[in-house]
Amino acid sequence: MTSRTPSSVTALDVARIKADFPLLQRTIRDGKRLVYLDSGATSQKPSSVLDAERRFYEMHNAAVHRGAHQLGEEATDAYEGARETIARFIGAQSRDIVFTKNATEAINLVAYSLGNASFSDTVVGQSLSLQPGDRIVVTEMEHHANLIPWQELCRRTGAELAWLGVDDEGRLDLSTVDQIINDRTKVVAFTHQSNVLGTINPVAEIVARARAVRALVVLDACQSAPHMPLDVVELGVDFVTFSGHKMLGPTGIGVLWGRTEILAAMPPFLTGGSMIETVYMDHATYAEPPQRFEAGTPVAAQAVGLAAACDYLTAVGMDKVFDHEHALTSYALEGLASISGLRVIGPNNAVHRGGAVSFLVDDIHAHDVGQVLDDRGVEVRVGHHCAWPLMRRFGIAATTRASFYLYNDFSDVDALVESLDAAKSFFGVK
């Protein structure tokens, strides 16, 4: 097993990259080498990100957008500078970037704001509102974060939820897309890359159909923004959401990008300080985006940390990150194919596919697979991966998932494959 040669050698100097990540230097389970294959859940952080956050607190911490004093100016500059960096990272303008605490809040923001549109004073605001009989379309492979907020919006507005199915290979079934995304469809929300299957969805095709019926398109980029170059203009969607913690950034920050004119029409979601224009006891008027959507003291240090993460990724090169993970994924799929009784849930080849690889091992429950791997220092995720309906689609309860990032190398994949062999021996499975 260990003597297989990587199917391609990649341009990344992983040893050097790994050295930037303090946590990856530690050992696990009594001194074993740590093989971290759970970046799909959350990524580790390079020192430069931790340093940037700390520098903010030690040098420039003050209330952003509220202080007229020097510290306040410095804090505001740091925060707004971070917005510019993060905007650049996805080809956006900074005024279209809204900071939230995670991607989940970003998606809820859109759903609640559309729900609030029916109470809007303005005609443009009202035009975004949903009526009974309107439709919201998602897919069967969505993370709960991009499913339940829409279920709840349907419940509040009387709109109906419909969804695109998934085929046996783990691709979206687009054969009925024209029926499912019908004339009454107001929102199409789908994931760019599945966190379970690894599938990369055909954005352009879905956008074309959504445009034809004038539906808004929400793209959940949680699993793509960290792993491939993104350009919001090219994507052609209306909203993009992702989380900082999955892309080398801190916990506690998410990003919503929205089209200028749509953000401008949307009513607020969270309300409070810093998102207002004028306030009276009985009513208030609201600031322009992005401030309108950032109520309260912002996630300032986290924005600074995420900007440092974007700088790190940009310095490495997102195309190289993608190529590297692509190579790891191909190599992993080959390795897994060599294990009898192992079935990959999701595409079996690396075409239009990212580095989240889910699988079942015959006669060993995912929890038990995960346990044996963990005992050997190989950290994977087991369970439904917050995509329970997708599990039902495949008639299963749980999978084991390995997911890769720029700091993984071929030896990590070897460790995975070896440990799976060990798990099989342990449970006496052939």
Binding site: H367, D368, D375
Partner: protein
């Protein structure tokens, strides 16, 4: 963690059947992993005469439910709940518990599981289902008598 006794029960589970007749049926789910159990109990004159369970789960949850079935069948409901309380305490001990072997018998094999917080819920799935079912059965019999 994987004691021989656990693997034995996992391979040859006790009470993995659709119990008929029964007094109470419950369905429990572990939301973090999606594992499920449907458990039925038969209780006669305050004694747990039979437990049957079906569902899907890992070796720990399957074995824990099997050990439980073996251990609790034939006891009074009160005794069974005492054992359950002892097992729960052991599982929450984070590897520090001194298990009462007289009370828990084969279930002491799960001591090691308590060191893995994420697996504690697995070990408890069947036990919590049983507790729920037993309490429902008691409530039902009180109602029937009144």
């Amino acid at each position: 963690m994987y004691q021989e006794i656990i693997l034995d029960h996992y391979r040859n589970p006790v009470g993995r059947l659709i119990l008929e007749p029964f007094d109470v049926e419950v369905h429990h789910v572990n939301p973090t992993c999606g594992d499920e159990i449907t458990l039925r109990v038969k209780i006669d004159d305050g004694v747990v005469t039979a437990i049957g369970h079906q569902g899907q789960g890992c070796s720990i949850s399957q074995a824990a439910t099997s050990v439980m079935t073996e251990l609790l069948e034939g006891r009074t409901v009160q005794q069974a709940l005492d054992v359950e309380a002892g097992f729960l305490a052991l599982m929450q001990s984070r590897g520090e518990g001194q298990p009462d072997e007289d009370l828990l018998e084969d279930a002491v094999a799960f001591s090691g599981v308590s060191k893995y917080p994420a697996r504690v819920k697995c070990a408890l799935l069947g036990w919590m289902a049983f507790k729920d079912a037993a309490l429902q059965a008691v409530a039902q019999s009180v109602k029937d008598q009144s």
